[in-house]
C-alpha cells in the first residue's frame, strides 16, 4: 500500500501540517514493518515446523526440498506429510484469527471470538451430526488419518462442511439476536455463548450414542482441535474462503473503524451497520465452520490473535485485518510445533495449547472489563 509523505503540499495547514503528516506516515510505516516481521516469523516457523519430526531434517534442507532439490523419500515426507499440516496450521490460524477480530469488532465486544460465542461448538455439532446421521462418516474416517489413507470424498466433504456451517450459523443467529437487545452487556452475550457451547457439546455427546466406533473416533477429535489430519483439498477450500473473506474485510476496513466510534457515529458516516454486521458475521461463521469441520475446535485462538494484534499495530483495521490473520497463523504454527516436540513421537492437539494461552487472557479481559 502507498504511504503518504512529508513532501505532500499542505496548503492550509502549512509547515506544521506537513510535519504532522510526515510523523503520521512514519508511525504507519513502523507498523507495516511489524507486519512484515510477522510474515518473516511465519515463514521461519513454517520451515522449522516442516523440519521437526521422526524423520529429522534441517530447516535449510527443507528449504532446498521445497525448491525442488530434494531426494525421493525426503520429498515424499515433506510434501505429503509435513507440508499439508504446516499449511493447514497457517490457513486455519489466519482464518480463526480473522474471525475472532471480526466478531469482536462487529459486536463491539472484546470477549467475543468463535470459541467464546459458541460458534465453534455449533460447527462441531453440525459436523458430527452429518457424520453420524447423514452417513458422511462412512468414508470420512480419513478425516482422522487423511495424510496416509484416502481423502474425504467430495460429497461427504460438502455434507460435513454444510452442516458445520449450519451449526455455526445457528450459534451466530442466537448471538446476534441477543446482542441486538440493547441492555445486554458484553459479558452477558458471552454467557449466552457459554450456554450455547454447552448445549452443542451435549448434543455432540448425545450423537455419539447413535454412532459406530469408527464414527465416535471421528466425532471425538472435534472436541480438541488438531491440524495433524489435513489434505490438500480441504486446505485449498479453506484457503480460498479465507482469502476472499480477508479481502472483503480489508475492503470494509473504514466501516469497521467507524464502528469503533459507536453505532450512531458509524451510521452518520454512511455505514449500513445492520448489513455490515449480518454479512460480516455470516462470513466469519463460514470461516469458523470450515476450520472446525476440518480441524476441530481450536480453543481461544480467535480471542488471542486480535488482542495481541492490537498491541502490535493499534486499533485500525487496515493493519489489524492482516495482522490478526498472521498472529493466528504464528500462534497455531507454534502450538503445533511445540505440541509435537513435547510429546515425543505422538503429538499434543493444538487446542490444548491454545487453551493454556487463551484462558488466562480471557480471565484478564473479564477482570479488566473494558469496551473494545
Amino acid at each position: 500500500m502507498k504511504h503518504h509523505h512529508a513532501t505532500l503540499p499542505a496548503p492550509v495547514a502549512g509547515d506544521l501540517g506537513a510535519e504532522l503528516i510526515s510523523r503520521y506516515g512514519a508511525g504507519l510505516r513502523r507498523r507495516y514493518l511489524i507486519l512484515v516481521a510477522l510474515g518473516v516469523v511465519t515463514i521461519l516457523l513454517a520451515l522449522q515446523g516442516v523440519a521437526v519430526g521422526a524423520y529429522d531434517l534441517s530447516p535449510y534442507k527443507v528449504l532446498l526440498i521445497l525448491l525442488g532439490q530434494g531426494e525421493g523419500a525426503q520429498s515424499v515426507v515433506v510434501f505429503n506429510i509435513r507440508l499439508p499440516r504446516i499449511v493447514a496450521a497457517i490457513v486455519t490460524g489466519w482464518g480463526l484469527g480473522l474471525s475472532g477480530l471480526v466478531t469482536q469488532s462487529l459486536l463491539r465486544n472484546p470477549l467475543a471470538s468463535p470459541f467464546t460465542l459458541g460458534m465453534s461448538h455449533g460447527a462441531a455439532f453440525g459436523a458430527a451430526f452429518a457424520i453420524v446421521f447423514l452417513g458422511a462418516g462412512a468414508v470420512s474416517t480419513s478425516a482422522l488419518y487423511s495424510a496416509g489413507s484416502g481423502d474425504f470424498m467430495f460429497s461427504s466433504l460438502y455434507a460435513v462442511t454444510l452442516m458445520a456451517f449450519a451449526g455455526a450459523m445457528a450459534a451466530t443467529a442466537v448471538i446476534i439476536l441477543l446482542a441486538r437487545m440493547r441492555q445486554m452487556s458484553a459479558s452477558a452475550v458471552i454467557l449466552a455463548g457459554v450456554a450455547m457451547s454447552s448445549l452443542f457439546m451435549s448434543g455432540t455427546i448425545l450423537i455419539q450414542y447413535f454412532a459406530t466406533e469408527v464414527e465416535i473416533a471421528t466425532v471425538v477429535f472435534w472436541t480438541f482441535g488438531d491440524v495433524a489430519r489435513s489434505n490438500w483439498r480441504e486446505i485449498l477450500l479453506l484457503a480460498v474462503a479465507t482469502l476472499l473473506v480477508s479481502a472483503y474485510f480489508l475492503r470494509r476496513r473504514w466501516d469497521l473503524n467507524a464502528l469503533l466510534a459507536g453505532e450512531e457515529t458509524a451510521q452518520a458516516l454512511g455505514v449500513h451497520v445492520t448489513r455490515l454486521r449480518l454479512l460480516g458475521m455470516f462470513l466469519a461463521s463460514l470461516l469458523v465452520a470450515l476450520a472446525t469441520a476440518f480441524h476441530g475446535i481450536i480453543a481461544f485462538l480467535g480471542l488471542l490473535a486480535p488482542h495481541i494484534s492490537r498491541r502490535l499495530v493499534g486499533g485500525g483495521h487496515r493493519l489489524l485485518v492482516p495482522c490478526s490473520g498472521l498472529v493466528g497463523a504464528v500462534l497455531l504454527l507454534a502450538a503445533d510445533t511445540v505440541g509435537r516436540l513435547v510429546v515425543g513421537s505422538g503429538s499434543l492437539p493444538v487446542g490444548v495449547l491454545t487453551s493454556f494461552m487463551g484462558a488466562p487472557l480471557f480471565l484478564y479481559l473479564l477482570l479488566k472489563g473494558r469496551r473494545l
Binding site: L16, I21, L260, G262, Q267, A268, L269, G270
Partner: protein, 270 residues
Amino acid sequence: MTLEAKGLHFYYNGQPVLRGLNLSLEHGEITGILGVNGAGKSTLLRCLNRILRPQKGVVMVEDRDLSKLGGEQIARLIGYVAQSQEREPLSVFDAVLLGRKPHIKWQATSHDLDVVTTVLTQMGLEPLALRQVSSLSGGEAQKVVIARALAQEPHLLLLDEPTSNLDLRNQLEVMELLMQAVRSQGLGAAVCLHDINLALRYLDRLVLMKQGQVHSLITPDELNADMIRQVYGVEAVLAEVEGHRVVIPRSATPREPARPATQVPTQEKA
C-alpha cells in the same frame, strides 16, 4: 436555506415522538433545540440525518430530498455528533481521518490528510494528533469528535448535547470553536442543549420543543418567562448580566395541571 424539514412524524413503539414538526436551518447560523427530556430533541436530530427514518414528512438538505440519497451521500452533506461517545482505540489523527470516510474510495488521498491536519489545527488539537483517543480528557475527546464531523466537510452540522459532560471551561471552548467553524465556513448547524444560558449566549436562533412539536421559534432576545414556564414547567426570571441575558430558575411548577406561579409553594431550585 441549508435544511428544510416539513411535517415530520416519528413513532416509537406506536407512541408519537415527533408530531408534524417543521424546521428550517440557515447557512452560517446555529440553531439551538431546547426542551425537556423526552420532548423529542434527540429523535429530531436523528430524523434529520436519517439515522432514524421518520414515518411521514420530508427533509431537504441543499434542495435534495434525503430519502432519495444513500448513507454516504447523506454523510457528505451532514456531520453528526452523537450524545454518547465511545473512546475508539485509534490515534486522534486516525479518529479524525474517519470523518473522511464518506469521501474515500479505497484509500485516503493527500487531500484527505490535508483536510484532517487543517481541522486539527483549527481545533487546537495538533499537539495531541498522535496520542490515543483513549488517553485524552473529556474535553479533548469531545473536540476530537467535533473535529471528525468537520473533517466530513459537511454543509450542515447536527450536535446532540455536545457540552453535557464538560466542565465550564471546556463548555465555553467547545461552543466558541463551533461558532467559529459555523461562521467561517457558512455551515448550517443545529445543537440540542439543556443549558439555556449557554444557548442564550452563543446561539442565533432557538427552537423550543414541546411534546414532539415546535412550541416556538425565536431569537435568544425573544425568550421570556412565559415560554420557559410553558416549555419547561419552571418559573424563572430573565436578567441581564454584563450584557448577557441569563435565565435564573426559581421553582418548578406542579406537574398537573399547570397553575399560575403565585400558587406554587415548591422549593427553590438552584
